[in-house]
């Protein structure tokens, strides 16, 4: 603050102005509105003591500042009242980082530079800033006149009678950053026009530029704008309130993600406190053939979802065999209904690594058992999980009934976006997912093979043809033309 008082001169004013805003960008600026005051003549404001650094000016203090200011300033007040304003607007759009040419406030800066006594309150508490009009009205004993530059040029002002002219300026944050900058630039144009009109009329004035409410709240200022001056995280010190707000913001974002994608945790069987088997699917339905018709039952809501805990009694997990059991009641007319996923792992010599397979998917209902074999198609290396978009026994089947007489032939089971891991589970999360679909499908491979063969043939043929040349050994451009005799 000492530097502030020393440097109150026209030239140092703007840099002080911006430096203070930069300083204060690292301080507590939530829900405060800056207030800029300058006069066209008279240096009465120079004697005014500015607030201490970081101090938020309240209503009464604002009143006293205005009173002191008006004691020595001209009584024609131009109040530029923007809908919203925060210090961040100046740091972002004011060319504060050396890019003065991009500044959206050229007229404002010029006015402050040329003013003999500018005055800045960087942080006026929000409810107080909306009372500026009322306080000025009280102190000047006049009612405010709401104007714009056209009406001002028609008005005749004189220096002796006090006047309070209010110019309402808009503010908007559109979807893109550019619109805010354009709006502020427009407001600055209005300020410039008004000041030039006042100068042409040679009327002394006091100008105040402030807003009714702040344009940014603390939490939003952290999150989105990583542009020039927008990202403040490096300069911030740890503040309990900001930590809480940041945490809240993060949770809000997470919930938004979850609601959007239907994300929920997998079915997790824990053995000895650690997750041993994980199962996730977007959809799980079973159907049974009864009287010539397929009766479906959707088990997704009973198995998967946020806060859904299916009963896993009977599941077990050891080094070489894992078995996940999902227990249900009253499904498709059966009192007890269980889905069993039996997995095993072993070392395979040819590939020299361990693989696990989903040996069987069993449906146990009222004492009977329907078994599907899955080991032919559902397999993955031991360290990874297995993932497949569609695991069914009827549509591109990966599960087949064990025998042709098995009750499984009367059942249909279908998983959508299926992922399972029965071994090497660490941290309660799936390992890398070995997908059932490779990069090239068999059809693509066949097409590639035949087309590459044909391209090879084509290349070779082309090469041969291109090395045929017309014989030019006996060409003699200067000799006589060839004559073919008519007789034999």
């Amino acid at each position: 603050m000492a530097t502030e008082r020393r440097m109150v001169s026209g030239r140092g004013c703007v840099s002080m102005f911006l430096a203070m805003f930069c300083l204060f960008s690292s301080g507590t600026c939530d829900e405060q509105v800056p207030l800029v005051l300058w006069t066209s003549e008279g240096s009465g404001l120079l004697s005014l003591a500015g607030p201490a650094a970081g101090h938020i000016v309240g209503v009464s203090q604002l009143g006293s500042y205005l009173e002191n200011a008006l004691n020595s300033a001209p009584h024609n007040i131009l109040l530029f009242l923007q809908d919203k304003m925060s210090v961040e607007d100046f740091t972002m759009y004011g060319g504060a980082f050396g890019n003065k040419q991009d500044s959206a406030f050229p007229n404002l800066e010029r006015a402050l530079l040329s003013s003999p006594s500018p005055f800045v309150l960087p942080a006026v508490a929000w409810p107080a800033s909306s009372t500026v009009i009322g306080q000025l009205q009280d102190q000047l004993d006049t009612s405010p006149l709401y104007m714009d530059p056209e009406t001002l040029s028609q008005l005749r002002l004189n220096g002796s009678t006090p006047a309070l002219l209010v110019f309402r300026l808009p503010y908007s944050t559109g979807a893109d950053v550019m619109s805010a900058k354009e709006v502020l630039r427009g407001n600055d144009e209005v300020i410039g026009q008004v000041i030039s009109i006042m100068k042409s009329q040679s009327v002394p004035y006091t100008a105040i530029y402030t807003a009714i409410r702040p344009s940014r709240e603390a939490s939003s200022s952290i999150s989105v704008e990583a542009g020039v001056g927008g990202g403040r995280s490096l300069l911030q010190y740890a503040d309990k309130r900001r930590e809480r707000e940041r945490q809240r913001e993060r949770e809000r974002q997470e919930k938004k993600v979850q609601e959007r994608a239907g994300v929920y945790p997998p079915v997790d069987f824990k053995e000895g406190g650690a997750s041993c088997i994980l199962l996730w699917a977007e959809n799980l339905t079973v159907s049974v053939l009864r009287g010539g018709r397929w009766e479906r039952h959707d088990l997704t809501s009973l198995t998967f979802g946020e806060g859904v805990t299916p009963r896993l009694q009977g599941s077990r997990c050891n080094q070489s065999h894992s078995s996940l059991v999902l227990n249900y009641e009253n499904i498709l007319g059966h009192r007890s209904f269980r889905l069993v996923f039996a997995m095993s792992q072993r070392h395979y010599k040819v590939s020299a690594r361990r693989w696990f397979t989903l040996d069987a998917v069993e449906i146990e209902y009222d004492g009977q058992k329907a078994t599907f074999n899955g080991s032919r198609n559902v397999y993955a290396p031991l360290e990874y999980s297995y993932r497949c978009q569609s695991v069914t026994n009827f549509r591109y089947p990966l599960l087949v009934p064990r025998t042709s007489k098995d009750p499984a032939n009367q059942w249909r089971v279908s998983f959508t976006d299926f992922q399972i891991q029965g071994f090497s589970v660490s941290g309660g999360e799936f390992s890398y997912a070995s997908d059932c679909a490779g990069f090239f499908s068999p059809g693509i491979w066949m097409g590639l093979m035949t087309s590459l063969l044909m391209v090879l043939v084509l290349t070779y043929g082309l090469h041969m043809i291109m090395q045929l040349h017309t014989m030019d050994r006996f060409d003699d451009p200067k000799g006589p033309a060839i004559s073919v005799p008519q007789t034999d």
Binding site: R353, R376, F439, H463
Partner: protein, 233 residues
């Protein structure tokens, strides 16, 4: 072939380095033109790069030759065999006739007496094409429809049929290709020698007969390969 054998194993690092080494040796400047060089280099380097990537990310298990051989349709293999049988044989025959024919015509300008005798060389070349078409017809008669769609339902017999037909087509095709070229070059020499000295021709014909026999070997082996083929349900 060396490359294929290496890629069968799990040691893809070696395959990738072998890949790079081979690509250098294959880039013999006399064998291919510039544009072929570029495409071969591109393809080989892409193989090397993808092999290295699979190795680094421990995704070597994704390179599954068994999956490729069981998922691709036996029909493709069978028909490739038939196509290759006839096309490669015809390439051999055509090349041989082109070489012999131009020599006979050229030599016949100064020694017209050679033209009738040397047609025997052309006939030897043509025989190679006839072997090719006969084998193509024989092999295509073995191609039957089957109704399976998964490896289990297709059955081992159909896979054996597909691969045998592919192998037989390859056998007869390549042996006829080289037989045709061989007979062509020998026939061309025979025509020019005959033009110089008429007594040389009969002895040179023996060389051509030996050359022709190798085409016949290919046909015999192809017939043996497809003798046990039974495609269908």
């Amino acid at each position: 072939m060396y490359l294929l054998i290496l890629q069968f194993s799990d040691k893809f690092f070696y395959s990738s380095t072998a890949c790079t080494v081979l690509s250098r040796t294959l880039m013999h400047p006399t064998h291919a033109d510039n544009y072929e060089n570029v495409s071969i280099i591109f393809i080989l380097h892409w193989w090397c790069f993808s092999g290295i990537c699979y190795t680094i990310f421990d995704l070597g298990f994704r390179f599954d030759v068994a999956w490729f051989l069981t998922e691709t349709s036996p029909f493709m293999w069978a028909n490739l065999g038939i196509g290759l049988a006839i096309s490669l044989s015809v390439v051999g025959a055509a090349w041989g006739i082109y070489i012999t024919g131009s020599s006979i015509i050229g030599g016949g300008v100064k020694a017209p007496r050679i033209k009738t005798k040397n047609l025997v060389s052309i006939i030897f070349c043509e025989a190679v094409a006839i072997y090719g078409i006969i084998m193509a017809i024989v092999i295509s008669n073995m191609a039957e429809n089957f109704s399976g769609t998964t490896p289990e339902t297709i059955g081992a017999r159909n896979y054996q049929a597909g691969y045998s037909m592919f192998g037989a087509g390859l056998t007869v095709g390549f042996s006829n290709l080289f037989c045709g070229i061989c007979v062509g070059i020998v026939g061309s020499g025979a025509a020019l020698a005959d033009a110089q000295n008429g007594s040389l021709f009969v002895k040179i014909l023996i060389v051509e007969i030996f050359g022709s026999a190798i085409g016949l070997f290919g046909v015999i082996v192809a017939i043996l390969q497809t003798s046990k083929v039974k495609m269908g349900d």
